[in-house]
Symmetry: C3
């Protein structure tokens, strides 16, 4: 990221102080690994300790951004001097620097693009932006300052709150409701009919009508290419403050409490109810009809097949308390050794002698 400022200027911007030469003109803000003598790299307190130490020892960065308490290695003898910008909180300072260097994408201007197609009864609040090729159904309501980027489609009588952003090609089904300050990234599909069928004795599937809706609370963010299906006759609900990554599947009648976060490619099957502040890693598969307690944490790639109590941390497939799963993984890895021990016991007993196993490496 283009920087083009001196060390002293960056320090002033961030309210930090400088150790070492302040006059160096910095070309780029980049990583410890990529930085050269004219670049600035941040030292993250949150990065895994060993990897961070190695990167720090090897970096050629001319300047570092670091917390006041971060300990930095001595430079090798004869190395050129390095500038360090010390700040109270390196993570927050980095955010401020990034935001200063590259502003958010410029919002489209308010107004309705002439290529947009609005059905009768659409209601647009102040300063709404309706981009090219957007299509809005009958009676759609859009709150103040919300921006609909190109190709967005909104079904009849859907209601979208204020200060939202729907990225290109987002689809919002009829009658669904989005709160205020909701961001939905590109090509996400909200409000598809749920996947519900009745199978007859010949194996044919007949659709069960799914005419409920999806409700997203305030301050919700949904990634790109997600599918959130409408309920059968009630509401699929995403609570206030929930954050969902890309390619996530939320089936019909699922409910998420406030402030949940789901990483990419996770799927929640029908009617499962998550409490508040539930966290899930990527590519988790959650069975239908479960209750997931407040604050439960599901490690990446886990398959949850039973209810989870509040605050538990689970991993694996089927998912278990993390420590139990990690122990089982180790025990399975040592199964060959266990088989050998049993074989030794069998031989010893057959020989009428004593066991040879039970060595120090036994679990």
């Amino acid at each position: 990221m283009r920087l083009d400022r001196t060390v002293a200027e960056v320090a002033a911007l961030l309210g930090g102080h400088v150790e070492g030469p302040p006059e160096l003109r910095l070309a780029e803000l980049t990583s410890l690994e990529d930085a050269g003598p004219a670049d600035l790299a941040p030292v993250f307190p949150t990065r895994a300790a060993a990897a961070a130490a190695a990167a720090l020892a090897a970096t050629r960065a001319g300047a570092l951004l670091a917390g006041t308490r971060a300990s930095l290695p001595d430079l090798p003898a004869g190395a050129p001097p390095r500038s360090v910008i010390r700040v109270e909180n390196a993570e927050l300072a980095l955010d401020a620097l990034v935001s200063a260097l590259v502003p958010a994408d410029e919002p489209p201007p308010p107004g309705v693009h002439p290529s947009a197609v609005l059905a009768e009864g659409v209601s647009l609040a102040a300063d709404v932006s309706v981009g090219p090729h957007v299509v809005l159904g009958r009676g759609v309501v859009i709150g103040a300052r919300t921006r609909l980027l190109p190709g967005v489609w909104v079904g009849d009588h859907a209601v979208i709150g204020a200060d939202g952003v729907l990225h290109p090609h987002v689809v919002i089904g009829s009658r669904c409701r989005l709160g205020d300050r909701v961001t939905v990234y590109a090509s996400t599909v909200i409000g598809r009919e749920g996947f519900g069928f009745r199978q007859d004795k010949d194996g044919r599937h007949t659709r069960i009508p799914q005419r409920g809706i999806v409700v997203l609370g305030d301050d919700v963010e949904i990634g790109a290419l997600c599918a959130i299906d409408r309920a059968r006759f009630t509401e699929t609900r995403i609570g206030n403050g929930c954050k969902i990554d890309n390619l996530v599947q939320i089936a019909h009648n699922v409910q998420l409490g406030e402030h949940c976060a789901l990483a990419a490619q996770t799927g929640i099957a029908g009617s499962t109810i998550l409490g508040r502040r539930v966290l899930m890693g990527g590519q988790c598969a959650i069975s239908n009809g479960l209750r997931i307690g407040d604050g439960a944490v599901v490690g990446g790639n886990s398959g949850v097949m039973d209810d989870l109590e509040p605050g538990i941390y689970v991993t694996g497939y089927p998912a278990l308390a993390h420590k139990a799963w990690a122990r089982d993984v180790v025990l399975v890895r040592r199964l060959g050794e266990l088989v050998a021990r049993v074989r030794a016991l069998e031989k010893a007993l057959a020989d009428g002698g004593t066991a040879q196993g039970g060595s120090g490496q036994a679990p």
Copy 2:
């Protein structure tokens, strides 16, 4: 779901009879959990027994929709009377009520929107609807009454049957063929070139041309955000009556027999052939080149790495007959105990004594 009818009116609509007061005006059709004294909630015979009983015991619903043979708990002494609408089949009655309360989305009118772009030789049968921003390639054929919603793209010489619905932004590749009464939900991509490459000794990949097609049978439903790739030189085939959920991947040359159903995020690798009426849960991964027998059932999140015989029910990764997998899960969970028993045997033998293990909790 807004109801605004009396108990008697709903009973008449569904051909049911009323137990308790018939004159209550019902506000909403909702779940046992959400219903209040002015609401109607259905009692599902298919819901898990324990959860259903608990919800029923705790509901505040003023009226219930239940099957004639459903047993309902007595109300607590002093509780206000509750109305029950008894019907022959509560599931079917609920479908009828849902459909009566909320009709399906109003279809777009027949005709071609002026913003649509049609190449030469497009053939539209009677009453086709081509929505805004649709793009149709050369020689595309669309059957009677089929609706193409905004932003649909159809490649050259593709053929789409009658009475279909392609939701916004669906992509149908050149020459692919869709049967009658096919629904494809938003942003699904049908007919991408299959993922086939030849790797040279330097690791570079060269594309293997994939110029076959995708064929969807009649009465097929494909969810949102699915990818169904075209065959190398034959056909990727989805049989009549198949139902596919969101975010599903169907690779080149895959074949599905009639009436299969695949839940969300499942992926089928290249050239695998499914028989008829195969059912798969969500997020299954099926290897390439397999044969999956008629009526096989694959539990959610399973990884199938071998052919499956007809009618088998498998789960796990690698997938096994469900009972065998469930047994293995239990045995792994008891591995720590088994290790302790082996250690006790080793000690007993070393001591020249007798074993202490083999207790009642042994598997």
Copy 3:
């Protein structure tokens, strides 16, 4: 695939020679399974031996396309004669035949469709094609002969190389950069803000600004419905020659070396770095912050939770060296037997007798 040529004509086209009757007029190029007496079917040297032999023994194909060294079964006595077109390399000959029979989709003509919307400062090189309903942001640069299919959206100041193809509804975020000869299939989303939040003590998530970019090298192919997120302040990088299948998730700050190939539905979590020529099967889940060595191979449906050394082949969850995982799978499958052996030992020791286990089927 329609053929409509004689055996001799096909042989001439492919530079092969004919065994058996050359004058047969071939109707279709199809598979051994589907072919009839008037059809041509290829005999793949790469197909699994047993399945290929069975298909070959059962085929009704009137003509075969086979390598010069492929051994073919004798026809049953009294069967009509079969033509065989012998070629040096059956795979390459098949590619040539497929390409001759069905040319690639006809490219759209150069020029800007009147329904496209271009912001100020867009730069289009020679013979660029900008299709219907495309939207290009400020200062976007498109290289020579690149084709933007309908509904593509490109953010401000993004740069796209020459000879590329962006399929319908592709989204390219602001400032992202694509090399030459890049193909991106339909509805893929490149350059979304990475999924990064800071959680406060009340569980609320605050966005960490993600203002870096995505860089795709030359000769990259990205499937349909993929998400590749932009870096926090540097670059998410996809190396030259990488090939990515459908529905793949690449998180912020991930880097892929040259010539990697990732099959469908795989996900790579944040900041993980892949070396060159890494291969991954479908639906793999790779944890964040890992280093995956050059030439590592990850079997389908695996979950990688640790760094991988160059050249290793891993499978499973958590992923292990393939042989170790395969051995563990077998050992788990035999756990019931091991438990029985331990029980027999316990009984023998309790009885003061000798063990009955240790039979021939023991692992």
